[in-house]
Structure formats: structure tokens, C-alpha cells
């Protein structure tokens, strides 16, 4: 019996030795497992670095081939102990920022994460002043690091929200760095389509990193940020314009193209006018959801306040809500909002009114639309005519500054009438437009008077010159006659 148990112990020992031989590379792990144990060991066994054959010494330094503590955990062998602060990220970067090293492990991961992190908003110094706010391990954990596509990774699509909100939902923490930054993004996110699907397990929808980036996160006011106003449309378009990606969701994928052609798109993307809306201005940021049918005008009305107010009290409000027609969008479209010219109103084929109003159906609106269009046209024509006349008079050198000044009122009436259209009330519209027409008529009259005066002056001069010439000639003849008489008298 003793021989068997001793044999078994020998075999066991041999087995252990062989197994240990297999793990001959990572003596750190084996020793720590046998002795201290702990979470780090347990986690590291599942770590991708461990699977790739990297030992504890790969990050902590030292000699992983010997069991002798003094030799293994020797600073001369490169042992750095438990790295603190920036040393952590530097340790990760010693491989992850080195393209050759990464290739040698057969990895196609990008190698600029560390540099991006340093330049990002997270790369700023923490309140201690000794280290950066975020280290690699803050989001990726230290041991048990797995691929981002692995469901147990803290940066996996379904987990990342929890990782970010560890700090970003903590008001007392955020207060130390940016007190005005909101901390309710998660709550809002969970009301959005993205958030709801994400909670149900959809890994394709947008989560924090999809829009904000991962390592290169910058303040939204930074022009290089993915969520800087002029970059927002292309950030959203990364998914929403990809028809293959969006196939299963069955929503259109032409919004970005349409938006780029719209007034808002041209203003924001080409002219860099930050007053123009990006996707989030109408859809929201974290609570991104298209506005409801009866609230479209309120959303547009945050900028187009006068139009929205007029619309809300107009007969169209009830008519649209009853028919479940979205308010501003029905006439102006949502993404491809083109410049609203005068052609938009009226009863011609280009006008939107004729979509619902005809001579037979909704005829009251038909008559109003027709009247408003003709008023706008006459306003434009009268203003143009007045301007032409004033310019002609000015060019001829006539004093016409007062009439020119009055023209401003005509211009103003035209702009005000375009807004007043949204009351869809012929009477109110007429009040505004007729003021402009009256001013234009007055100016035209004054300019015409000036032009007539110009002709009159030249005509008058001609007549006066004629009179003077005849007088001068006859006077001269008279003088000659007197002189002849005088000379005859003296002879």
C-alpha cells in the first residue's frame, strides 16, 4: 500500500511537474495561484494576453521563468511592481503602441490608441495633478482583458454603457472636472430607440463609443470631436447611410444625402454656420427620437419661432393633427428642406397648397392660396420696379436719397409677408403685403417724378437757350444798326 501511494505521489508529482513544465513560461502565475491566489489570478487565466502566451512579467516586468522570488521580482530584471497612474498606460503602450510587436503576436489592432488617449479629453491631468484622468485599465480592466467583441468585455456594445456611466453618471465625480456637463445621459439614452434596443441585446445600435469614439474622445466643442456640430451628420451617417447595415431596421437611409442638399445642410456643412441644426438639434442627443407629428412645429419653432406661433393658431393646425399629417414637414419636408421661395405657395403645380386644395375640394384654402400668391408676386414686382426706377434716377444724378431710404420698408414687408404666410389667413397676409405694395408705389412715383424732372430740365434749358439766342442775335443787330446810324450821322 505504501508503495502504491508513493508511486501515485511520484506519478502525481511527475504529472504536476509535466503540467508545470507546460506552464514553465509563467512561473509568476503558477506561484501566485498556489500561494496568494486572488481575483487577479483567476481573471488572468481568462485574459487574452495569457492565451497569447504573455506572462505576468509582460506587464509587471521581472523574470517569469524562475520561481525564486528574489530573482523573479527583481527590479534589475525589469520588475515594476503594481504600476500606478500613468505607468499603467505606459506599460500597456509598450506593446500596444508598437506596430511590430503587435504584428508578432498576429494582431491587427490599431497602435495609435495611446496617443489618441493622451490627446483626448480623458488624457488631461486628474485632480491630483500627478496622472491622467483615465488609464487603459479604467475601461478595459487590468486582468481578464478580452476582445471588444467578447460579451464579457466591459467595452462590449451591451456593457459599455455601464462602463462609461461609472464616472459620467456620478454627479459628485463629474463636478470635480466639468460641473456643467450633464450626468443624465444614461436615463435619456434608455428612452431612445438606440437605448431600448441596446437594452434588449442589439449589438448593432449606437452606444456611447459609436458616436463619441473610444480613445479619441474630445469635448463636443472641440472641432476635431466626432460630435462637434459640423461633424455630427457624418457621425450619424456612419450607420444611418449604410443601407446594408440598416437593412433589418427597415428605415430609410437617405437622410444624410437629403440633409446635405438642404438649406440647413448647406449652412452647417458648407458655410460652417453653427446656428444651423445638425441631426441632434431636431432629434435630440442621447434621447434621440424623431419628434411626434403634433410636436414638429414646436421643434422647428425653437428657431423658427414666429412661423411656429403663427402656425399653431392657424386653421392648418387642427386640420393637420386630425389627418395625422406632420406639421412643418408636410410642406417643407424633414431632411431635404430646400429654400422656401415664393413658388411654394399658390395653386400652380410647383406649389404645395394644391396637394390638398383644389377648386372643388377645400376651396376656401384654394382661394386664399391663390390670393396670397398673387399678392406676393405683385409685391415682388412692385419692389423690383421701384428699385429699378430709383437706380435709374440716381444714375442720372438726381437727388433721390429719401425715396431710396423708403425702399427698405418695401423689402421689410416682403420678408414679413413670407413669415405671415404661416397664419394661413388671407386678411392678415393682405395687411402686411399691401403695406409693402403701397410703399413701392410711393417710391416708384417719386422716382418717376425725378426722371420726369431730369427731362424737364433739359427741355427747359433748350427753350430758354432758344429765347436767349434770339434775343442776343436781335440785340446784336440792334447795336449794329445804332452804330451804323451813328456813323452815318457823323458823316
Amino acid at each position: 500500500m505504501k508503495r502504491l501511494s508513493r508511486m501515485m505521489m511520484l506519478f502525481g508529482l511527475l504529472g504536476c511537474v509535466s503540467v508545470t513544465a507546460l506552464r514553465a513560461q509563467d512561473k509568476c502565475l503558477s506561484c501566485h495561484e498556489a500561494t496568494i491566489g486572488g481575483q487577479a489570478v483567476a481573471l488572468f487565466k481568462r485574459d487574452i494576453h495569457h492565451a497569447k502566451g504573455i506572462s505576468c512579467a509582460g506587464c509587471h516586468g521581472g523574470d517569469s521563468k524562475t520561481e525564486e522570488m528574489d530573482q523573479a521580482m527583481n527590479a534589475k530584471a525589469g520588475y515594476i511592481g503594481v504600476p500606478k497612474g500613468d505607468e499603467i498606460s505606459k506599460a500597456c503602450a509598450s506593446c500596444h503602441a508598437n506596430a511590430e510587436k503587435m504584428k508578432s503576436f498576429g494582431s491587427n489592432l490599431p497602435t495609435n490608441q495611446f496617443q489618441n488617449l493622451q490627446e483626448s479629453v480623458h488624457g488631461k491631468l486628474s485632480t491630483s495633478g500627478k496622472e491622467r484622468i483615465v488609464q487603459c485599465t479604467t475601461c478595459h480592466n487590468s486582468h481578464g482583458i478580452v476582445s471588444v467583441h467578447n460579451a464579457s468585455s466591459p467595452v462590449f456594445a451591451l456593457n459599455i454603457v455601464k462602463t462609461c456611466t461609472k464616472c459620467h453618471a456620478d454627479a459628485s465625480f463629474m463636478r470635480m472636472y466639468n460641473p456643467s456637463l450633464p450626468v443624465d445621459q444614461l436615463d435619456k439614452y434608455r428612452t431612445s430607440v438606440h437605448g431600448i434596443r441596446n437594452a434588449k441585446g442589439d449589438v448593432k445600435v449606437a452606444e456611447c463609443a459609436s458616436c463619441h469614439g473610444s480613445h479619441d474622445i474630445r469635448n463636443a466643442k472641440d472641432t476635431k470631436s466626432n460630435v462637434y456640430a459640423t461633424n455630427v451628420p457624418s457621425t450619424c451617417a456612419r450607420c444611418h447611410s449604410n443601407s446594408d447595415y440598416m437593412k433589418e431596421y427597415r428605415i430609410p437611409t437617405d437622410q444624410f444625402d437629403k440633409f446635405s442638399n438642404s438649406v440647413h445642410g448647406v449652412a452647417l456643412l458648407k458655410k460652417h454656420d453653427l446656428g444651423a441644426p445638425a441631426c441632434n438639434s431636431c432629434h435630440g442627443n442621447h434621447a434621440a427620437t424623431p419628434p411626434g407629428i403634433s410636436s414638429v412645429s414646436k421643434v422647428c419653432g425653437t428657431c423658427h419661432a414666429l412661423n411656429a406661433d403663427l402656425f399653431s393658431t392657424s386653421p392648418h393646425k387642427k386640420a393637420f393633427d386630425d389627418r395625422k399629417l406632420p406639421e412643418c414637414e408636410t410642406c417643407h419636408s424633414n431632411h431635404e428642406i430646400i429654400i422656401a421661395t415664393d413658388k411654394l405657395i399658390g395653386v400652380t403645380s410647383e406649389a404645395v397648397c394644391s396637394r390638398c386644395h383644389g377648386e372643388a375640394q377645400n376651396s376656401k384654402g384654394y382661394a386664399a392660396a391663390k390670393a396670397m400668391r398673387s399678392l406676393i408676386d405683385s409685391l415682388e414686382n412692385s419692389e423690383k420696379k421701384a428699385t429699378e426706377l430709383v437706380n435709374e434716377a440716381e444714375q442720372k444724378g438726381m437727388e433721390i436719397s429719401e425715396a431710396k431710404y423708403k425702399l427698405r420698408d418695401a423689402h421689410q414687408a416682403r420678408l414679413e409677408s413670407r413669415t405671415m404666410v404661416h397664419a394661413f389667413n388671407e386678411g392678415r397676409f393682405r395687411d402686411v403685403a399691401s403695406k409693402g405694395v403701397a410703399v413701392s408705389a410711393t417710391v416708384s412715383e417719386e422716382a418717376t417724378k425725378a426722371l420726369d424732372e431730369y427731362v424737364f430740365r433739359r427741355l427747359g434749358l433748350g427753350i430758354a437757350t432758344l429765347a436767349i439766342t434770339i434775343l442776343a442775335i436781335s440785340l446784336y443787330i440792334f447795336i449794329r444798326r445804332i452804330e451804323r446810324r451813328q456813323s452815318r450821322g457823323t458823316q
Binding site: 444724378g397 438726381m398 437727388e399 433721390i400 436719397s401 429719401e402 430740365r457 433739359r458 434749358l461 430758354a464 437757350t465 436767349i468 439766342t469 434775343l471 442776343a472 440785340l475 446784336y476 440792334f478 447795336i479 445804332i482 452804330e483 451813328q486
Partner: protein, 359 residues
């Protein structure tokens, strides 16, 4: 017609005794020679002065002095008052033509030596009127209160202030203060419509009286050649009618200028704005202005500008007193020096004016 005329004449004659005067005037003759054309320029100057008085009075009906309204009132005259444009443009053009014809008249008298005895006082009164005319031009130019006028006045009164000792007080008297402000405008308005016309009329009266009393001056060469039979024409009615004819043509010329070259108004003066580039005075001051620019900043111990002003002052004084130091002409002798000096001055004025305009 004739009886009305003779009845009126008799009525006045019984009370004021016109017969002697009429007889005297009837004897007045004007020499007819190759230089006769110059005799007309005095009359044309007088005519233009009368035009100024008439158009000036008409403008007074609508002009509002004071910096709040001066510019706008002229805009009003140009655009809202019937024929206001005509009256204003004629007034501005006639002012320039008046100074031009006065200069021509002055130089023709100078070269004809008509200032010699017994016509010294006629010359002096004429010169005083010329200086007053320049004052009319300078003061009237400011009245529209536009940008150009404002800065021209600033520069002009600055130069006046450069005169040693009395310069500063004179400048402040002209400006109604240290700077050119609304007070300056008020003063200039008063000078232009009341002070200068009053003084001018006195000297004009003396000048015309003397011309009538003494008759037209004959060229110096007449004295040489002895009592030949000279060609003359009676002042009344021949010369006078010819004068009228010329006046008629000048009037037409003014109307043509007013219609085809209307006088500009420009921008309203802004006391707090900086001067636009290339400010220069009206053409009749231009030769002096340009000369001052060419004098170096400092000549020996005197400031360049002061030297320039003093030289001009001295020159003007000599010119004014020419009847008293040109003894030769009084004696009836030819004076080549006067001719050459005069030609030189005319040449200098013309060249400097052109240069000042182009530059």
C-alpha cells in the same frame, strides 16, 4: 412808350436835377482798340456779383444755418424746392466764375497799367473787393456743411493760425472757438450774408462811381503817340448794350452749367471722423496751398509755413500798392518790369493751380 418814359424822367428831373448827370454820362466814351475786349470783364464781374446777390437771397428763403439742418436744407433745396437745383447750382458756379472774371479783370487792369494816376483809389478799392470776394468764397464754401467743406475750412483756418503773433486770435475769431464746429458755421453764415455784402457794397459803390467819374483808362501807348484821331464808342448806349449782350450769354452759360454739371453735395460733415485723403481747397486757393506744400519744414530759423504765409502777405501788399511804387507808368512811360513781373505771376499761378489739381 416814349411819352411814359419822358413823363417819368421829367417828374424825377424836377426833383433831383438829372439833366447835368445825363449830359455828363452822354459824353462818356470807351476807346476802341485791339485791347478793348478786356474792358468788358469788369462789367461781367459786376453781373456775376448781381447774380450772386439774387440767387443768394433766393437761397436764403430755404437755407437753414446750424449744423443740424444746413446739409439737409440744401438737400431739400436740391430735391424738393421747384428749380431749387437751378438756383443752387447757378450760385455755386457763378461764385467760381465771379472770382475767375475778377482775376482776369484785375490782370488786364494791371497789364494795361490802368491803376496809374489818377486811378489809384479805383485800383485799391478793386483789390479790397477781390480779397472780400475770396472771403465770400471761403465762407460760402462751408455753408453746405459737407465733408469736403468741413475739412477745407479746418485746413484753411489752420493756415491762418500760423501767422505769427496775431495768427491764433484771428483763427479763433474765424472759428468761433478752437475747433471748427457749429459755431464756425454760424459765424461764416453771418460773414457771408451780412458782413461781407455790406462792406463789399461800399467799396463797389466807390469803385463804380470813380469809373463813371473818371471814364475808361486809355493804354499807355496813347500818350506816346500824341493826339491822334482815336476810334471810340459812346458808353451809352453802345458799350452798355454790348455789355448787356455779353451778360446775356454769360447767363445762358450759367444755366447750361447748372443743368449739365450740377454742383455736388457729397456727405454730411462728421466732426468726429478722420479726414478723407486728398483734401484740397477750391481752385482759387490752390496755388498758395500747393506752394506751401513745397516749402521745406524749416528754412533757417523760420518755420516753413510761416515763411510762406509771410511771403504771400508781402506779395499781396506789394500788389495792392503797385500804383504807388510804379512811378514810370504814372509818368506815362512803358514799364517792362511790371509786364515781366505780371507775366511771371500769371504763369506761376496757372502752373501751381494745375499741379495742385493733378497731384
Amino acid at each position: 412808350m416814349k411819352t411814359v418814359w419822358s413823363k417819368t424822367y421829367n417828374w424825377i428831373n424836377e426833383r433831383v436835377e438829372l439833366d447835368g448827370l445825363v449830359e455828363f454820362m452822354g459824353k462818356k466814351y470807351v476807346p476802341v482798340n485791339s485791347h478793348s475786349i478786356w474792358y468788358y470783364f469788369g462789367g461781367v464781374s459786376l453781373f456775376l456779383f448781381i447774380i450772386q446777390v439774387v440767387t443768394g437771397i433766393l437761397l436764403l428763403l430755404y437755407y437753414k444755418g446750424g449744423e443740424a439742418l444746413a446739409f439737409e436744407s440744401i438737400q431739400f433745396i436740391m430735391s424738393k424746392v421747384q428749380f431749387g437745383w437751378l438756383i443752387r447750382s447757378i450760385h455755386s458756379w457763378a461764385a467760381n466764375l465771379f472770382i475767375l472774371t475778377a482775376m482776369i479783370h484785375m490782370f488786364s487792369v494791371y497789364f494795361g497799367k490802368a491803376y496809374r494816376k489818377p486811378r489809384e483809389i479805383t485800383w485799391v478799392t478793386g483789390m479790397i473787393m477781390f480779397f472780400l470776394a475770396l472771403g465770400f468764397g471761403f465762407s460760402g464754401y462751408l455753408l453746405p456743411w459737407n465733408e469736403l467743406a468741413f475739412f477745407a475750412t479746418k485746413v484753411g483756418t489752420d493756415i491762418a493760425g500760423v501767422v505769427p503773433v496775431v495768427g491764433k486770435p484771428i483763427m479763433e475769431f474765424l472759428r468761433g472757438g478752437e475747433d471748427v464746429t457749429g459755431a464756425t458755421l454760424s459765424r461764416f453764415f453771418g460773414f457771408h450774408v451780412a458782413v461781407l455784402p455790406g462792406i463789399f457794397t461800399v467799396f463797389l459803390g466807390i469803385h463804380l462811381l470813380l469809373v463813371q467819374r473818371q471814364g475808361m483808362s486809355e493804354p499807355v501807348s496813347y500818350a506816346d503817340e500824341g493826339a491822334k484821331e482815336r476810334k471810340t464808342m459812346p458808353f451809352f448806349p453802345n458799350f452798355l448794350l454790348r455789355d448787356m449782350l455779353l451778360w446775356l450769354i454769360v447767363l445762358n452759360l450759367l444755366a447750361i452749367l447748372a443743368v449739365f454739371f450740377p454742383w455736388e453735395l457729397g456727405k454730411k460733415a462728421d466732426l468726429f471722423a478722420s479726414a478723407p485723403a486728398g483734401i484740397k481747397p477750391e481752385w482759387y486757393f490752390l496755388f498758395m496751398f500747393q506752394t506751401l506744400k513745397y516749402i521745406p519744414g524749416r528754412v533757417l530759423v523760420i518755420d516753413g509755413e510761416v515763411l510762406g504765409i509771410l511771403v504771400f502777405g508781402l506779395g499781396g501788399l506789394l500788389w495792392l500798392l503797385v500804383p504807388f511804387w510804379d512811378r514810370k507808368s504814372s509818368r506815362g512811360e512803358r514799364n517792362r518790369f511790371i509786364n515781366y513781373a505780371g507775366l511771371g505771376i500769371v504763369f506761376y499761378i496757372i502752373v501751381l493751380t494745375i499741379v495742385g489739381w493733378i497731384v
